[in-house]
Structure formats: C-alpha cells, structure tokens
C-alpha cells in the first residue's frame, strides 16, 4: 500500500510540473485530490486495514494529501503569472516599441556650471549679485589699480565702445572683477558676494580663445578677514566641485587689485600631475586667481583698510566643463549646435 502511495506521489508531481494552463490544473485536482481520486479511495478504504498498517498508511496518505494541495497552490500562482504575460502578448502590443517621445529641453552647460558653483558659495553665505557688462574704465581698470599704460592692461586686450558716458570711456568688461567696487559701494559689510556673467576680450577666436566668455568673481569684506579664510573658502569650493581627493595647489601670483595675490590650481585630470599636453607639462591646471583686496581698492570702495580687510577671487567658467567633459573647443559653447548642447 505504501509503495502504491509513493508511486502515486511521483506521478502526480511529475504531471503537475508539466501542466501549462489553468484548465489542466483543475482536471489534475479532480484526478488526484477529487472525491473519486485514487487517494480519496485509499483514505476511505483505510478501515479495512489492520490497525498497525492503518496507522502508518493513514499518516502517509494524509501527509501526501496536504503536500499535493500545497504543490497545487504553488503551481497555480506560477501559472497565473505566466498567463498574465501571455494574455498581454496575445492582446497585441509590442512593448518593445519606443514610447511616445516628449520634447527634452536642457539648460546650457555654462548655465548648469554656474548654478553648481552658485550653490556651493550660497551655502557658504555668499549672495549672487548682478553687475553691468558694459562698464566704465574706472570700474574695470583704473579703480582696480590698473591705470592707463599699466602692463596688466596688455594681458586684457579690451573692446571699447564707440561712445562716451559723460566724457568717460566705456568698455566691455574684461573681467567680472569689474563688479567689486560697485558691490562695495552698494552693500554694507559684512559682504559676501559673487557675481558671474559674460566678459569680453579683443582676442581672435580659436579652439582655446573666444572674444566672449564667462567668469565668476567672489568678494568678501569684513573686519578681520584673513588670507587663511581665503584659502579655506577656495579649498572648500574646490573639494566640492572637483571632489575630495583632487590635489590642490595654492601659490603666489600677481593681480594689481589684490595683495597678497594667489592662484589656485588642481592636479591635471589627464596625467594626475605627471605632466601632459593638456596641462602644459606642469601637472597642474590653473582654476582661479585670488588675493586679499588691495588697500587702495578698499579705500575706493569706501572702506578704511586699517579697519576692514577682504578677499576676492575670480575664475573662468568655460574651462570647467571643458575639463570635466573633455571638450576641446571653446567655440562650441556659443555655436548653438544642438548636437553639442544635447549632450549636457
């Protein structure tokens, strides 16, 4: 009798495994668990067996019954899942067909970069201010310790406007530092301001030069601001923009409107500092110029340098996405080519 039950179990499970749809499942149930099934018959006929055998066979048969029931439930669930998929396929949509396109618009990579930098400085308490692009010589040069015939003017070839504002020469600002005196005139300390936008140079355009590009400048003026504050602020920015592990260099440099002056560079991403064409074999990529606001500039902005101190920094924007994405031609930014812009 036990052998008969064992055989029944093997057969039932094998058949269940091979069932493909719900109707077959029902006939299987009728066949193995129904009222007329062999198992039911065996259970019913237990009474005719001797007591000892009745116990063992009865236990086994009941165990078999619940095991078959469990297997049946499992199989049903699996089949339902399969069926759902099958039904949808039969209903006739090819789910691999492309979705209905929605138009995708993106901000310009320069706008995206500026936003990213803004957010970092805003979190350090800086506020974004606006400043004119067409400027007086005074704000762009003279007031920043770059009088006429100063050699520093040679490195910022200027586009001049063919009009004078009340006799004063007008130019297209060559750097966003031109906003610094205006900010000092407008705001009261403590000042923590950034401004960004287009700057212009008399420079023929090629892969690395453009007569128009973007800069961002920062300015902080207060009592007791130190060079260490400048270094700390810039390192914090660089860590967040370039990543924790990027090596940084903070070295002495000269700009007429700051003293001491500094320049910050990051380790070249291509050669990691060993020197390559991108970094001009130096291993470093210059990112920004900075320094402590020159006392004469503070004075012109209306602050007593004996009481107040401040720092300023300025950086070019285009080179940041150029470095990050490996863009090799600055002109792409202003060419409006969708094949370029769609990549960002």
């Amino acid at each position: 009798m036990l052998a008969q039950l064992e055989q029944l179990k093997q057969k039932a499970l094998w058949e269940l495994e091979n069932i493909k749809d719900a109707r077959e499942v029902e006939s299987w149930r009728v066949c193995y668990l129904g009222r007329k099934s062999e198992l039911t018959k065996i259970l019913r006929s237990l009474t005719i067996l001797p007591l000892e055998e009745r116990k063992t066979v009865g236990a086994y048969a009941n165990e078999l019954k619940s095991s078959l029931e469990n297997n049946l439930d499992e199989r049903k669930k699996t089949l339902e899942k399969v069926q759902l998929t099958t039904i949808t396929r039969v209903a006739g949509i090819d789910i691999t067909l492309p979705g209905r396109p929605i138009p995708i618009g993106r901000l310009h990579p320069i706008t995206q970069t500026l936003k990213e930098i803004f957010d970092i400085f805003i979190s350090m308490g800086f506020q974004v201010v606006e400043a004119p692009e067409v400027e007086l010589d005074y704000y762009n040069f003279e007031g920043l310790n770059i009088p006429e015939e100063h050699p520093a003017r040679d490195s910022m070839a200027t586009l001049w406007v063919d009009y004078k504002a009340g006799g004063r020469p007008i130019l297209l600002r060559t750097h966003t530092t031109a906003a610094d005196l205006r900010i000092m005139e407008k705001l009261k300390p403590p000042i923590r301001a950034i401004n960004a936008g287009k700057v212009y140079r008399y420079e023929a355009s090629d892969a690395t030069h453009s007569p128009m590009f973007h800069q961002l400048d920062g300015l902080a003026v207060d009592v007791g601001i130190t060079m260490a504050d400048l270094k700390g602020t810039l390192y914090e920015f660089a860590r967040r923009f370039f990543g924790e592990d990027r090596k940084l260099r903070f070295r002495c440099d000269y700009f007429p409107f700051v003293e001491p002056g500094a320049e910050m560079a990051v380790a070249c991403s291509v050669c990691q500092g060993s020197g390559c064409r991108l970094c001009g074999n130096s291993g470093w990529i210059e990112i920004l110029g900075a320094g402590m606001v020159h006392p004469r500039v503070l004075e012109r902005g209306g602050y007593d340098p004996e009481v107040y101190s401040g720092f300023a920094f300025g950086m070019g924007i285009e080179r940041l996405p150029m470095l990050r994405y490996g863009i090799d031609d600055i002109r792409l930014f202003f060419g409006s080519d969708l094949r370029f812009l769609r990549q960002f």
């Binding site: 007569p211 130190t226 270094k231 700390g232 070295r251 202003f334 060419g335 080519d337």
Partner: protein, 801 residues
C-alpha cells in the same frame, strides 16, 4: 624670461633637483612655464687635434689624430678647417648625432672610409644640433677642457619663467638668483667689476642734459675708445641664444648680456656720430621722425621721449636705437648709455609705435634708477674685455629724479593677523632678511621698521611685506579656515530668480537653451526687417571691432536665434525649440547703455518628433502662443494680448503681450521674407521675445490660496454662431463677466457651408460654480439665458442649430 641655469649658478648655488626648484619658484610667484634641456649629448667629449695627415686613398679626406686626455683616436675627416691644436667635439661610436643631409637622428657606427678604419667622428655644429652649420667642424674655445664630456661644458637647462608685471627685477638673471637664494636660504655672489680708465675724463668729451626729467629721471653714460668690433665669444653667444636673443657683435652683445644679467637695458652709440658730442634727453618735437635700428621710419609724438644730439634724435628712449648712431663694423669709440625712463611713457611709446622690445618691457614695468651705475660699470668692463679699448675716466650721471624711499613700519603681529598665520617673529624677520630687506625691531615688541632694497620698487606698503613673508615661508604654511563671522543679510536679486524660473519652465517645455555672442553685425540686424531699412535707434557700436560680424552690441536676441535655427536646420530634420536668456544693450544719453534681461524663444519644424505613431503636423501660431501662455501661467501672471506691428513678424500672425497696460513682449510667426534672409526656406518659424526687466515687477505679487470648491459644478455646452469678425476673446470676456461662471473652455471652432460663409461657430463648455452651495438647474438656466441674450445683443450671436 628665459633663464640659463648654468648662468644662474654663477651667482647662486643650486643644490636641489631642477624640478623641485621649478616648484619652489612657482609657489613663490615665479612660474616656470617650460624647462628646456640644451645639449644632452652622450658619448661626445672635448678633444684636441694633435696631428693631421692626408688620407692615403682620397685627396679631400684627412686622417686626424685627436687627443682625448687619457687616450688618442684616429678618425677620417673631410672638413676644410682642421688645424692642429684646435679643441673639438669628438663623438665616440654609439653617440647619437643628427645627419646633416636628412636631419634625422642616427647612431654613430664604426666605419671603414676608403680603406681606413675610423671609429668616432669630429662633429660639426649641425651634427650636434647646435646650429645649421656643417661646412666645417665646430672649433671650441682654447679653455675647453680636453677629455671632459661636451654636455658638461656646453649643455644647459633653460627655465622659461612667467614674470608677473610687478617683478621687473626678476627680468634678470641676478634677480632670479636673488629669489632662489632667498627660497633656499643662502646669499648670492655678484660679479666683481673692475676696469682701468685713462686719464682724460668723460666729461671733457661728452655732455648730457635732461630736458624732461619727468620722463627721464636718470641718465648715465660711459665712453670706451679704441674698440674693435668682432663677433662675441662663443660662451656669450650661447648664453644670449639660450635666453632667446640673437648675437650681433661684441659691443651690442655686451649690452644685451648685461641687460639679461642685471635687468637694466643699455644702449651703445657710435660715439663720433653724436653731433656736437652732446646727449639731450627731451620730448620729441611735433612731426619729428627717426629711422629706428630696424630701418623703419617712425613718426614720433610730442609725449614720446627721445635721446638726441645737437641736431636730431638718435634713439627712441628705452624703446629702440636710431640707425643714424648705430654701432657698425667701423665703430671704434662707443658711448654707452644706462638710463632710467618713466614706465608710463615707455609703455605708451612702445604700444603706439608697435615696437615692444626687451628694453621697453623692462622699463614699462618700472626698474630702479639705482640699477644704472652697476650695470653700466659691468658693461664697460665686458666691452673692454671683449672688444679692447680704454674707458674714459669716470661716468656721467645726471640724476634729477632721485627719490628717497622711507622704511615701512609694520608689525609681525599685524602680518600674522592679516594672513591668519602664527609665524614667529624670527620666521618673519628671517624671510624678509633673506630677500635683502633690512629689518629693525622698533619700540614695541612686534613692531618692525623695514628698509626696502632698491631693486624692489614693487614693495610700497605693509601688505606687500605680508606677501613677501607668506611666499618665502611658503603659501603651503597658510592654514585653511572658513569665514567665521556673522552671515551677511541675504538680498537676492529678484531678476536672478525670475531668470531661473523662466529657464526651468522653458526647458520643461522642451526648449534647449543657447548662449550666443552679445556682439552682432549690422547685416544680421538689417535682415530682421523685410525691407532691410536702417535700424532705429542705431545700436551701440564698438570703437575697435574685430570683425563686422561682431561690431555692434545686440539690441535684441532674435537675430542670433534665427542664425542658430538656420545653422541647426542644416542637420536637424525634427522639431527645433531654442531659447536664450540674456542681455540686450540699449543706448542711453551720456550714460552706460541700459542692459535689459530678455528671453527669446523660437520653434520650427514638425510639432512631434518623427515616431511610429506621430501625426505629421507642423508647428503653427498657436504653438508659440501656447508656450507663452504656459510660461506666463508658470510665472503666475495674467497677460492680455493685443495687436502688434513688429516688422520681423508676419503682419497678421502676431500679438503683443500686455501686462498691466504695458507691452512686455511679442509673439508670432516670423515674417517669411525675414526667414528667407536668414536662409530658412523649408519651414515656418515662430518666435517670442519677452523683456524680463519689464515683466519683473509684475511677477512679484503675493499669491493667495483659493479654496477648492466643495459643491459640484454644473456643466453646460453652448455652440454659438457669430459673425466671422467676432473674436473668441470678445465672446469670452462677456461670458466671464457673469456671476457663477467658473472655468470656460473653447472646444470647437467651425467655419463652413453649414452655417454660412461669413459666420463661424464657437462652442464653449462653461462650468457654473458657487463656493457656498449647490446650484440649482433653474439658477444656471437663468444665467445662461442672460449670457446668450447679451451675446445676441452685442454680436448677434445665435445658438447653433
């Protein structure tokens, strides 16, 4: 500034690897742009020709014995200039040399030349890569040490330094040596100058007067007679070449050499050519001209300084000498000038005459007047040494511009406070002392009185000293701190927030942002009007435009966007949606131009991307209108639209965007002729331009919450028939004027036979709604009747059957 390391080593010991030195210099403000090795020869040594025999089998060849110290080699050589006793460069087998014919690098092998074995070679300059000369072998100076490797003797390394405009003193070998000495904590060795003078004084032979002391504060001169002009020795030529200057002759080379060494430009005149033996430093006369050394006639202006004799200008001061007093092969007597000129005047002159020179570059950065005498004495000594001759007794020194510089009072505590550092007093004083500053501790403990050495004209106040301290101790020693004071009050500029919101909305609508040049050409602007008439008002023009395409400051954004559309249409067949957020520049009387923030968008092509399901439709007027309406909704402003006359747009398919009575922008279809002018021929294009500066104040209103209706709305559809001239807006205004009317939507517009040619049907769904109770049908019927009768009265509207 190119700096020869070998030359530097004459003044300062270099005990660290050159790459480390470059790093130290860069950290201290003198960036090394490139490090260039000169030479790098292997297996080439200095030899001496001990014997020259004819080759047994060839007329033109010789067998040459070369002494190399410990050994001797015999080689076959065909050079015409073989002389016993000459020092030469001898290459062993295995040396890498340049093949004079092909220019390629080859490795020297042993060879049999016409039957005679030759292992090694006597080199020409070209084979060593020194110059193009290969007609003869290179002959080295007599002092060249036999047996030494040529690399040790001739090889060098050159640093190309980026000298910042404040450091005129570092435009010299000695200046750079001073920096290295300070950074590596040592002193420097300056040349010890001495020469003999004859009895007669220079004053007996030449007179100098300065007529323009503001432009020429000091003029010094020496006189050397009996010189013989010849090429300068190889060592000097090599150094000049290494530093990027071309050797000319011994006298001129000395002036350049000493300029590179001390940083003081010098000029040598052929003394007899100075008429009247008189040097006058004066402003150029109006209309005065001079032929400069390069043979070009230069017109001078009255604010330029010249060096003149009794009759004419003989040099453009500090910029370039004159041809009329130039040192030539026949020169025997040299008047040597070392002067100081006003930096502003020199910069102006060099810039106006387009004549930047090594001399002007130094003067315009401001070198010390104290440099003249040491440089002049050094150059006089070298001329006598290299060209012979004797110096007249004394030096002429006219110095009307002498200025005393007083010491700077500062405090070590103040320096630390400013830098945010904790340097000790010893560290600070040590750093300054290493740079040649004299530091005297003043009355109070941290106060110091610092006397500035004459060569550091850039040091003028206490902050300058702080920088010196920081860069000598090292910027790496400055700690990093974050601003710790109270945060300033934030007053964000509302225009920035508006711009960001507009940008985000438009990208959400599928528009791609572009950034175009703010400078445009008049041609592109003219294309914006169908009849290309002149623009009014004329946009601001640049005084020095680079090209006619970038000559004007843009008065609108649309010209650039049309160019961008045309450019993209060449390779894009799908929909194009572009926008720019940027400034336009409008002229203002006697003031800077007004910079207004504007957004301009353009769309063109198919409405849907080509897809397996997409309908084949093109954008039309209502797409651009929808974009603007969507944008305004995002900005929570309600605008009305009015007729407009924008000549870039189609005369009947355009509207002005009006807010609170003022026009802030326009939208419509681009005029077909304008499109054609921009080379856009396939599709129509639709454009909007909104002045955000005008829009801004209207977006700042406070928004209030509207409760969500708690009672159901009653929906009614009505189809009206009105005259074709009646607009949707007119009908809408009337419907909306009634109470209980909520949302009104137009769901059908029909014109056609069914209703007669001059009529049209407008179908509206009106939601009647009360916030306080549920409307009854009777109430709604009443209002609807009122609406219909008003429409009938105003427009003769009837219900469509």
């Amino acid at each position: 500034m190119r700096v020869s390391i070998k030359w530097l080593k004459e003044y300062v010991a270099i005990n660290l690897p050159l790459s480390d030195l470059a790093h130290r210099l860069a950290m201290a403000g003198l960036e090394v742009k490139t490090i260039e090795d000169i030479g790098g020869w292997e297996n080439v040594v200095i030899g001496q020709i001990t014997r020259v025999d004819p080759h047994p089998n060839a007329d033109r060849l010789h067998l040459v014995k070369v002494g190399l110290g410990k050994e001797q080699q015999t080689v076959v050589c065909g050079a015409p200039n073989l002389r016993v006793g000459d020092k030469v460069a001898f290459a062993y087998v295995g040396a890498e040399l340049i093949d004079p014919q092909s220019g390629e690098t080859i490795r020297l092998k042993s060879a049999k030349i016409r039957g005679v074995a030759s292992s090694g070679m006597i080199c020409s300059e070209k084979e060593l890569g020194i110059s193009e000369s290969y007609e003869g072998i290179m002959v080295l100076p007599d002092e060249a040490p036999v047996g030494t490797s040529l690399d040790d003797y001739l090889g060098d390394t050159v640093f190309d330094l980026e000298v910042t405009p404040n450091r005129a003193d570092c435009l010299s070998i000695i200046g750079v040596a001073r920096e290295i000495a300070a950074l590596t904590r040592q002193g420097i060795r300056l040349p010890q100058v001495s020469y003999e003078e004859v009895a007669s004084t220079i004053e007996q032979q030449v007179a100098v007067t300065i007529d323009a002391p503001d432009l020429g504060p000091r003029y010094c001169a020496s006189l050397i007679q009996g010189v013989k002009i010849a090429p300068s020795p190889r060592w000097m030529q090599q150094r000049l070449l290494a530093c990027g200057m071309r050797p000319i002759n011994n006298v001129v080379d000395v002036t350049n050499y000493v300029m590179l060494e001390y940083g003081q430009p010098l000029h040598a005149f052929d003394s007899p050519k100075i008429k009247g033996s008189q040097i006058i430093v004066r402003r150029a006369g109006s209309g005065e001209a001079i032929v400069s050394l390069d043979g070009v006639e230069r017109m001078l202006a009255s604010n330029m300084l010249v060096i003149a004799d009794k009759e004419r200008a003989v040099a453009i001061a500090g910029v370039m000498g004159g041809a009329n007093s130039e040192v030539s092969q026949e020169t025997t007597s040299v008047l040597l000038e070392a002067a100081n000129f006003n930096p502003v005047s020199i910069h102006y002159t060099a810039r106006s005459l387009l004549l930047p020179s090594e001399a002007s570059m130094r003067f315009e950065r401001g070198i010390s007047p104290e440099l003249t005498i040491p440089a002049l004495r050094r150059a006089t000594e070298l001329i006598i040494k290299l060209a012979g001759g004797k110096a007249a007794k004394g030096i002429i020194d006219v110095y009307p511009g002498r200025k005393e510089r007083s010491p700077i009072l500062t405090s070590t505590e103040g320096i630390n406070q400013f830098l945010g550092t904790g340097f000790s007093q010893d560290q600070i004083i040590g750093a300054l002392t290493l740079l040649g500053f004299e530091v005297e501790v003043a009355d109070s403990a941290s106060e110091v009185r610092v006397t500035i050495p004459y060569w550091r004209g850039d040091i003028q106040q206490a902050v300058d000293l702080a920088e010196e301290v920081a860069r000598i101790i090292g910027y790496d020693e400055i700690p990093q701190t974050l601003l710790s004071k109270s945060l300033p009050r934030q007053n964000p500029e509302p225009i920035a927030a508006l711009k960001e919101k507009v940008g985000r909305s438009l990208t959400g609508f599928g528009f791609q942002e572009v950034i175009t040049y703010s400078l445009v050409g008049l041609e592109a602007l003219k294309r914006l009007s169908p009849d290309s008439h002149a623009l009014k008002p004329l946009p601001l023009r640049l005084a020095n435009p680079m090209t006619t395409e970038q000559e004007y400051l843009r008065p609108n954004l649309r010209a650039n966007l049309l160019v961008a559309l045309a450019g993209n249409r060449k390779h894009e067949e799908g929909s194009i949606r572009l926008f720019e957020l940027g400034k336009v520049y409008l002229p203002r009387q006697n003031d800077l131009p007004e910079e207004r923030e504007v957004v301009c968008g353009i769309l063109s092509g198919p409405r849907f991307e080509r897809s397996w399901q997409a309908q084949d439709e093109s954008f039309d007027f209502f797409d651009v209108k929808g974009v603007v309406e969507g944008l305004l909704t995002k900005l929570d402003v309600e605008a009305s639209l009015e007729e407009a006359q924008d000549e870039s747009l189609h005369p009947t398919k355009q509207v002005a965007i009006v807010l609170a009575g003022s026009r802030v922008g326009v939208l419509g279809e681009v005029h077909p002729q304008v499109l054609k002018a921009f080379d856009i021929t396939d599709d129509a294009a639709y454009l909007f331009e909104i002045d955000l500066t005008s829009l801004l104040p209207l977006t700042l209103g406070q928004k209030m919450f509207q409760p969500i209706p708690r009672f159901p709305a009653t929906i009614r559809d009505i189809a009206l028939v009105v005259g074709a001239e009646v607009t949707h807006q007119q009908v809408l205004d009337i419907i909306k004027g009634f109470p209980l009317v909520g949302k009104v939507s137009l769901f059908d517009v029909y014109t056609g036979e069914q209703i007669g040619g001059s009529k049209k049907s407008l179908a509206y769904r009106i939601a009647f709604q009360s916030l306080t109770y549920t409307l009854t049908d009777e109430e709604v019927d009443k209002v609807q009747e009122q609406i219909l009768s008003k429409l009938a009265k105003e427009f003769g509207a009837t219900l469509r059957a």
